[in-house]
């Protein structure tokens, strides 16, 4: 299928902060400032950038946890076979639609209710959306536990989160997410809290599930090495804007934007003989160039499907 699953255009999320109780001045933080991208059906997009660049805000706006303040997000509607803006959804339609978007969070220690056993945790979304009868639901929990590799399921269902290791808990999070058979899953650094050896098994599990269940991921991370492993395409964010977006291997081998180059050059390489080339940029200067070009920066296509924000090309290259 060549359709896009999601089309995001000029997405904005502004936060108002007041200057104090008696102040009439309202300041606006532009956490996400006019970003646009598409995710084709069944493919995964990595969103990389430093802390505070707006990655998580973007994820929360896309998964409808926080309302956006501007721009448009459209999803492919399986029934009408056309793109549908999320602004048009209301009531039952919205609730039904929410099943298609799920989220996996960073910290498996904090995102699972410590007082519920694993069965209840995974059952909850089915209960909320009133899917099937009780025995159907329990059967579904049993199956999904097998899918995420927590076998035999009957051993895990009565256990509580504190009885599981970090890797097992993240598997429970994934099970809870996938039991709704979503088409789109937002993953916010799902492996950054895990040990290296366990990290790969979780990443492999997610890749296999994406293939089997036709799920698309928006994968948020600050580690490009992880993004390379997980994603077909990567978008680089800086100060609320996407500065470069391309196919993963193209982005890594041919980065254009100075910020992308800086980001790639900061990743440690697991080879003591490898001499990493340093690439320094002046962040204050970059900051100024980007903020003076506020509004919708044009993205220029420099190669097939490789886009770079133009104001920066003019300013810094």
């Amino acid at each position: 299928m060549n359709n896009n699953l999601i089309e995001v255009s000029n997405l904005e999320k502004y936060f108002e902060i007041s200057g104090g109780i008696f102040s009439r001045n309202k300041q606006v933080v532009k956490a996400v400032d006019g970003i646009s991208f598409n995710i084709p059906y069944g493919s995964s997009l990595g969103l990389v950038g430093q802390s505070g660049c707006g990655k998580t805000t973007t994820a929360r706006a896309l998964s409808l946890l926080d309302p956006k303040t501007g721009g448009d997000v459209s999803f492919y509607n399986d029934e009408t076979k056309s793109m549908q803006s999320i602004d048009e959804l209301e009531g039952d339609e919205l609730k039904k639609f929410r099943r298609n978007i799920q989220m996996i969070f960073q910290d498996p220690y904090e995102s699972l209710n410590p007082r519920w056993n694993i069965k209840d945790i995974i059952l909850e979304p089915l209960n909320i959306h009133n899917i099937g009868n009780l025995s159907d639901r329990e059967e579904a929990v049993f199956e999904i536990l097998k899918t995420v590799g927590l076998t035999p399921p009957e051993n895990y269902m009565p256990r509580f989160p504190h009885e599981l290791s970090g890797g097992q808990r993240q598997r429970v999070s994934i099970a809870r997410t996938l039991i709704m058979k979503p088409k789109f899953v937002v993953c916010d650094e799902p492996t950054s809290m895990l040990d290296v050896s366990i990290r790969i098994s979780i990443m492999d599990l997610m890749l296999n599930l994406a293939k089997d269940l036709e799920v698309s991921y928006l994968y948020i991370t600050h580690d490009l090495a992880v993004a390379r492993y997980m994603c077909d395409r990567i978008a680089v964010m800086f100060n609320g804007k996407i500065v470069e977006i391309a196919e993963t291997e193209e982005l890594l081998s041919n980065p254009i934007h100075p910020y992308t180059k800086r980001l790639i050059s900061s990743i440690p390489i697991p080879d003591p003989s490898y001499n990493r080339t340093k690439y320094e940029i002046d962040f204050t200067e970059l900051d100024q160039i980007i903020s003076t070009n506020s509004g919708n920066a044009d993205m220029v296509e420099v190669k097939d499907n490789h886009y770079v924000a133009t104001h920066d090309v003019k300013g810094l290259l």
């Binding site: 890797g167 492999d204 697991p270």
Partner: protein, 322 residues
């Protein structure tokens, strides 16, 4: 000359469930100006080793045997007063998440001053101010930061200030225990550069502890891989990366993604490290080992054996007799 020699260090924690052997028979040494890396997953004993070097282990942690010779003295035998002289002016440490350990209501400069006063009570206020300015200069901070409170600084700045604090009493050895874990990649890169620079300028020895084998590759001359409380492989960093001999080291390398080179299929390592509560003989990695064979026997004794120049691997007596 060796500045630090750790010989057959054993340490255990008394818990309600029993005694947990966190550090088993750990032996390594460090030359002046050398950087030594310790890598391994959570709970393998990395931090316990670091804490024993400063005798800062939790109250239920006890060194059961072994020696830690620093600068000619056995730290294990020192009393609390003698230890205070070693801590910070001999060995200092940058803790994991240390940037969150600043006192929120005291200015950064004042907190560093406090450490210097404790160790050098005779120095004047002006001397201390000069010292702090010099330290800030080394770690790339503006001297005005001294008058700021911790909440006014970013994570990266706080971590730089922690490094300045660790340097404040002119230590010979710095232990960096995952100093960049909570920071993102660009800040991590800057902090790593700072640590390297500081080490160069001051000729310090460094013990760098991390779960990230890529950082160890870049930061260290020699390294040790720890698993379940034991050093399972140690040697020159280049040699260990080029010829990893222990299956655990091989698994760690095979599970680390990289942004350079061809994209390879990474291999996961199933299972979990063993519980350290019950005493174990034999190879603790065997239950997860991808190269396990019929000659693996849980009753075999393990020993670090030199397989190449300075390159040691933990192997069982069956392997040795081959």
């Amino acid at each position: 000359m060796n500045i630090l020699e750790v010989k057959n260090l054993n340490m255990s924690y008394e818990t309600l469930e029993g005694s947990v052997a966190a550090v088993k028979d750990v032996t390594f040494s460090l030359k002046e100006g050398e950087s030594f890396g310790i890598v391994g997953e959570s709970g393998c004993g990395k931090t316990s080793v670091a804490m024993s070097l400063l005798q800062l282990q939790a109250d239920n942690g006890k060194i059961t045997s072994g020696e830690i010779i620093f600068d000619g003295k056995d730290i294990v035998k020192l009393n609390e007063k003698e230890l205070r002289d070693v801590r910070w002016s001999g060995i200092s440490i940058v803790f994991q998440g240390a940037m969150n350990s600043w006192n929120p209501v005291v200015k950064i400069g004042e907190q560093i001053r406090e450490a210097i006063r404790e160790h050098y009570p005779d120095k004047t206020k002006e001397e201390n101010t000069d010292k702090i300015n010099e330290l800030f200069n080394i770690v790339g901070l503006d001297s005005s930061i001294a008058d700021r409170y911790p909440h006014e600084l970013s994570g990266g700045m706080k971590q730089r200030a922690v490094i300045a604090l660790a340097l404040s009493c002119d230590p010979k050895l710095i232990i960096a225990d995952e100093p960049t874990t909570a920071l993102d990649v660009v800040i991590q890169d800057q902090i790593l550069n700072e640590i390297r620079k500081v080490q160069d300028i001051l000729g310090l020895s460094l013990i760098y502890i991390s779960h990230d084998i890529a950082v160890i590759a870049e930061m260290t001359d020699n390294m040790a891989v720890m698993y379940a409380g034991r050093i399972v492989e140690k040697g020159p960093t280049k040699e260990v990366f080029e010829n990893p001999r222990h299956s655990y080291t091989q698994s760690l390398l095979a599970s680390t993604p990289s942004v350079v080179g061809d994209k390879i299929k990474l291999k996961s390592l199933d299972g979990e490290p063993p519980s350290l509560i019950n005493e174990q003989i034999g190879c603790s990695f065997a239950p997860r080992c991808p190269n396990k064979n019929t000659s693996c026997n849980p009753n075999h004794n393990m020993e670090l054996v030199e397989v190449a120049s300075d390159h040691y691997v933990d192997i069982c007596n069956a392997e040795r007799s081959k």
